[in-house]
């Protein structure tokens, strides 16, 4: 069994978790609870994207598309099969796993850029299918979907569910990275050729992690669909992807808490930047460039370096 040492290192993290757990009871504004819930959604997406891009060095442009796949799969199955939304979420997760297996198997064996290109192609094909097959997906108008918890007027339950999914995601990533399999992941991330030379089946490692992260992303996407009550192509849009990447990079690519910090920070900031409309994405893009160019490890990484020196 693994040990979670209650060392001084984990103190701030536990503090943050407690803070988040207590937040809705202190701040009773539905609006902020809603914003934080959406923030958790982005944190999940950023964390999973970070596993592939930050730890394995494979950049996926299909991340938002997987969230959308989960959302649509869940919404469609709830609508046509009459199952409860919670089950729909798991169907969404399964859909994500299946598609990621397909793409992953196709392109993860090849050089890095080919993977990125095929995720791009996949995302585009998905977007086109959703808009053209509007008989099923209701196209840009959006597919209506029931809330996760029927008949509730408050977002508090959604907040805690999202937080639970987020904590579960982070925890499982932590466990995986610290396991024997995690050693293989780090090896592959460091140098795929060296890993191959050591006898590690790098393709298998990459595909498994891609499936794992895509499944979680789709699960989160399904949740998001039931949170908003409407599943529309925007979930998988380019801008959403850009936001997730910005959050991960600014927070700290290749670190564990980085994406979460980046996601919550940028989501809250984005609500304030509403005044600036047009400049919002410009600022985020600038942040990506500046962070990657000068502060490679993002906020968390830089802070850690400054305080721990190294």
């Amino acid at each position: 069994m693994f040990k979670i040492s209650l060392s001084q290192r984990s103190a701030p993290i536990l503090l943050a978790i407690v803070f988040l757990l207590v937040l809705p009871l202190v701040v009773r504004q539905e609006y902020w609870i809603y914003v934080m819930t959406v923030g958790f959604y982005y944190a999940i997406l950023a964390s999973t994207w970070n596993v592939m891009a930050g730890f394995l060095g494979r950049v996926s442009f299909a991340h938002a598309a997987f969230a959308a796949i989960g959302a649509y799969a869940s919404a469609l199955s709830v609508l046509h099969l009459g199952i409860p939304p919670v089950v729909g979420m798991f169907i969404g997760m399964a859909a994500g796993a299946v598609f990621s297996l397909f793409i992953g198997y196709l392109s993860l064996r090849l050089r890095g850029v080919y993977f990125t290109l095929s995720t791009l192609a996949f995302a585009e094909i998905f977007r086109i299918v959703v808009t053209v097959e509007y008989e099923y997906t209701r196209g840009s108008l959006g597919l209506e979907t029931p809330g996760l918890i029927g008949g509730t007027l408050t977002y508090v339950p959604y907040y805690y569910i999202a937080l639970a999914i987020l904590l579960g995601t982070i925890f499982s990533i932590y466990v995986i990275l610290n396991s024997a399999f995690g050693l293989k992941i780090k090896a592959v991330g460091n140098s795929e050729e060296a890993a191959e030379a050591l006898g590690i089946n790098t393709a298998k490692v990459k595909v498994i992690m891609f499936m794992f992260t895509s499944a979680i992303t789709s699960f989160a996407g399904a949740f998001y669909g039931h949170l908003v009550g409407l599943v529309s192509p925007e979930i998988g849009a380019f801008d959403q992807l850009a936001l997730v990447i910005a959050m991960t990079v600014v927070g700290g690519l290749g670190t564990l808490p980085g994406p979460v910090i980046g996601a919550l920070l940028l989501e809250v900031v984005s609500e304030y930047l509403r005044e600036f409309g047009i400049f919002r994405l410009l600022i985020f893009a600038g942040l990506i460039i500046v962070t990657l160019r000068f502060f490679r490890r993002g906020i968390y990484g830089t802070l850690k370096q400054v305080i721990f020196g190294g």
Binding site: L120, F279, I289
Partner: protein, 296 residues
């Protein structure tokens, strides 16, 4: 000549014309990959910038299109150099992995699109045409006059680029670096200069494509996104790093799209290029003319 109700020749010509535009972008992209081993995800935005440069030169400064075009090419070259120096240099110096170039060019792409939205405005703009001829009749075939002219200019620019690469010293250096980076360095070639020049050249070509096409198609901040995606498909199809592959791939894609739309469904038009990409990855990842890819 009509087959199954479709005027084949007109479609073929339309496909060829589109192909010449795609080629300008694909050639630049494949050059960057060949020399620097990165895919520039901001390539579409270089196309878009070229278009806006032409627009402002002709409308704000009242320059003639033919005078503005070389200026655009020059300015875009400089912009390409600046991008390489500012953002891409560390990638080579610090030997960073693929993901950094992908993310940073992606960030650049995002930045440029939103910069255009914020400062140029999201409305559609159309610069004045190179020639005011809308229809050219060749027998029973009707072609767009300005499209024909613009495609010819594109071909001329491509030929210039070809001459630069095959007949000049810097061109030789580029080819050497593309073939074998370490070997070229051993021969005393300044790899940094080569990278900078390559980026500048590719940027100039993309900018030229934008300056030419924006008079035919509409210009708006996101105008570069779709041509860029098609370029990725083309270089994958033709073989990443292969110039001939880029040209051949462009022509093939132009024709496939044209015929596919006419014969099959028009709604899925944009999806054809992606299906092509997936087929390539499945069957022949190195493309038509590319070097064998070391599978990892």
């Amino acid at each position: 000549m009509v087959v199954a109700g479709q005027p084949i020749i007109e479609n073929l010509i339309a496909g060829l014309l589109m192909g010449s535009f795609y080629a300008l972008m694909a050639v630049g992209l494949t050059l960057i990959f060949g020399v620097m081993r990165i895919v520039n995800f901001a390539h579409g935005e270089l196309y878009m910038l070229g278009g806006y440069l032409l627009y402002y030169l002709t409308t704000l400064f009242g320059l003639n299109n033919y005078v503005a075009l070389p200026i655009v090419i020059g300015v875009m070259f400089v912009i390409g150099v600046a991008i390489e120096r500012a953002l891409l240099r560390p990638l080579i110096v610090e030997k960073l992995g693929d993901e950094y170039s992908i993310i940073i060019t992606f960030g650049l792409s995002l930045f440029l699109v939103n910069f255009a939205i914020a400062f140029f405005g999201p409305e559609y703009k159309t610069p004045p045409p190179y020639v005011q001829v809308y229809r050219v009749q060749l027998g029973t075939i009707s072609i767009s006059g300005d499209r024909l002219l613009v495609a010819s200019i594109a071909v001329i620019i491509l030929l210039f680029a070809y001459l630069i690469i095959s007949k000049t010293r810097i061109g030789l250096a580029i080819r050497a670096a593309a073939q074998n980076k370490e070997g070229a360095m051993l021969c005393g070639i300044d790899i940094y200069k080569v990278n900078t020049f390559t980026m500048g050249l590719a940027s100039a070509l993309a900018g030229a494509a934008g300056a030419l096409l924006s008079t035919i198609l509409l210009l708006y901040p996101q105008a570069g996104l779709i041509p860029a995606i098609k370029s990725y498909v083309i270089i994958a199809l033709g073989g990443m790093g292969s110039l001939i592959g880029a040209v051949v791939g462009s022509v093939i894609l132009g024709i496939v799209e044209s015929l596919g739309t006419a014969l099959l469904s028009a709604a899925y038009r944009d999806a054809y290029s992606f299906l092509v990409l997936i087929l390539v990855l499945l069957l022949r990842p190195q493309g038509l003319f590319g070097a064998r890819i070391r599978e990892v």
